[in-house]
Symmetry: C2
Subunit: 108 residues, 2 copies
């Protein structure tokens, strides 16, 4: 996974997934790694950024169109992971679908 | 700081700040804490989410309008912090200004 995603010029889309996990659920890390790999193979994927502390986890996925986001949401393996999210992985989460209108990058 | 921000119904705005810090810079934590507090006192502030690992840090600030974002960008203390960012705090960063078009929240 990249540290800071190198995305094309706006507009493009961001899906912000902010979550609080349930304590110690077996299999979470394997599922998360699989979803990271699988999403990166989808058409329209532009990049992913992720950070998590003990209390909260943020994953941002960048896409070229809302159609690409909709297709990824319907991916069979991803749907199974989403079901697991509601069933056991998460205590709470918010998903936000965003249009990136402007950006600015700095590199030393 | 909230874990998962409770934001109003879309549309609203998100500023995603993804950064890689320089190693061991004195004063960073104090500045970051001050900016978190100060931003939360601005008109139009809706919430903040933050997570960081050793390698990357993600801070997302939610605002009700682009005007509120523009005003916060011009805040005198914030401008000094931004200057410090270019001068010494960050190895690299990307700021993305996004319109949140849809969201979905789950709470167990």
């Amino acid at each position: 996974m990249n540290q800071v995603s190198k995305t094309p010029a706006p507009p493009y889309y961001a899906v912000i997934f902010t979550s609080v996990r349930m304590p110690s659920v077996d299999g979470y890390a394997v599922m998360a790694q699989r979803m990271a790999k699988l999403s990166s193979q989808q058409e329209g994927f532009l990049g992913m950024e992720h950070a998590d502390n003990d209390d909260v986890s943020i994953t941002i996925c960048y896409w070229d169109t809302t159609d690409a986001i909709a297709k990824w949401k319907q991916n069979v393996e991803h749907r199974a992971a989403q079901a697991g999210g509601y069933e056991k992985w998460y205590k709470s989460f918010t998903v936000r679908i965003c249009k990136v209108e402007r950006d600015n990058t700095f590199e030393r």
